[in-house]
């Protein structure tokens, strides 16, 4: 930032010049690897169409943001926030989601070990109860959204939460760290399960990657002594 002493104006160097564009992450497994829980058709559409569209539109919005900032068009900067939140959120959420899933032969569905396992029992009673809670909250989401299993870093506890549309978990609390997110937008299950979202939720647990959730939990747990 430079201060023009003569006129009292400040100018901001364009801060997004070296901005990295987002790109579609590869899936860590084949498109049919999560069957029968999630069909290959869904995985292909979900990754190659839906997630790719969020990435493309996020990059476009950031590009517009760069232009708007450069020209000092603050009205446009504000107007772009909706696109950035929606598409950026879509990218963030789906990037987590692919890691939240794993083929059965790579540990998908295998219950978590300690310390996450004990923490789950302490907070929810049992893994079964956690799953039931997430299923019922996921089924009850009105419209499109996500159901999350998260860690509240500040309160040092595990939580179940939902977000609307493509809002990331952090919009529900900045200390919330997503451990598992389950997409309950209709595109996540419709070709296979039709309107039966509850059936999709029941089956998805067979491919949930608890290893990844444990890794995240342990990473954040290192600083917290109370679990």
């Amino acid at each position: 930032m430079s201060l023009d002493v003569g006129t009292g104006k400040t100018t901001m160097e364009p801060c997004l010049e070296s901005m990295k564009t987002a790109s579609l992450p590869d899936l860590p497994y084949a498109y049919d690897a999560l069957e029968p829980a999630i069909s290959e058709e869904i995985m292909r559409l979900h990754h190659l169409k839906h997630h790719q569209t969020y990435v493309t539109n996020y990059n476009k919005a950031l590009d517009h943001l760069r232009s708007a900032l450069s020209s000092g068009d603050h009205s446009s900067v504000v107007k772009l926030q909706s696109q950035i939140k929606f598409n950026g959120g879509g990218h963030v959420n789906h990037a987590i989601f692919w890691k939240n899933l794993a083929p059965v032969h790579e540990g998908g569905g295998k219950p978590p070990q300690d310390p996450l396992s004990s923490a789950i029992d302490a907070h929810f009673g049992s893994l079964e109860e956690l799953m039931q809670k997430m299923n019922s909250e996921g089924a009850a989401v009105q419209g499109s959204g996500w159901v999350w299993f998260g860690l509240d870093k500040e309160l040092k506890r595990l939580v179940v939460e939902t977000t609307a549309n493509q809002d990331p978990l952090v919009t529900k609390g900045s200390h919330l760290v997503p451990l598992i997110g389950i997409d309950v937008w209709e595109h996540a299950y419709y070709p296979q399960y039709k309107n039966a979202r509850a059936e999709y939720l029941k089956n998805i647990w067979t491919v949930i990657n608890w290893k990844y959730a444990s890794d995240i939990f342990e990473k954040h747990n290192r600083g917290l002594n109370e679990f």
Binding site: Q142, G143, A164, Q166, E186, P191, K194, N195
Partner: protein, 231 residues
Amino acid sequence: MAIRSLASRRTLAGLKETSSRLLGLRSIQTFTLPDLPYDYSALEPAISGEIMQIHHQKHHQAYVTNYNNALEQLDQAVNKGDASAVVKLQSAIKFNGGGHVNHSIFWKNLAPVKEGGGEPPKGALGGAIDTHFGSLKVLVKKMSAEGAALQGSGWVWLGLDKELKKLVVDTTANQDPLVTKGGSLVPLVGIDVWEHAYYLQYKNVRPEYLKNVWKVINWKYASEVYEKECK
């Protein structure tokens, strides 16, 4: 009208309030799924028979069922004077009641081609569209663009603002009826852009669904509503 088999025939019954029960000092009415005015496959190729059947028999039926459940619970809560429960129920009432209201309008907004689906509006509504938007083509383009841009689930509407006496295009989220955008708004045409409305046929390509749905839009119904409100 051609004779159709009982299994596939659906006749218009509209919103019905079929039974009322007396509970304490109040009686509540239950709502039922209105019949479709046409066969499930009658809107093909714009909207597949598979989608119409699931949309009507599963999605709309679920809204009706859950709306009735919520109203029953509301009745109990009101009778007990449990204001907290009354407030808590509003979300379920709005969502499911809205779903019922919106879909009941939607089935009337659609018609098979041979029954006038897609035929442009004439008379007063046709004139009003030209006045407010320039042409039907411009209106269609605007609604399609706003419908495609809707983030998440919702509806895109052509409505009449009774107070300002003008036509408007607006969107609502989830199952919010158009009236939530303004107390004087009357829905003329609503298009469901929830993924369940098109996914089985169009997959992620919502704009393609929006491009095609106009071929089965029932402008006759929209004109009737418009003329009625304009009296």
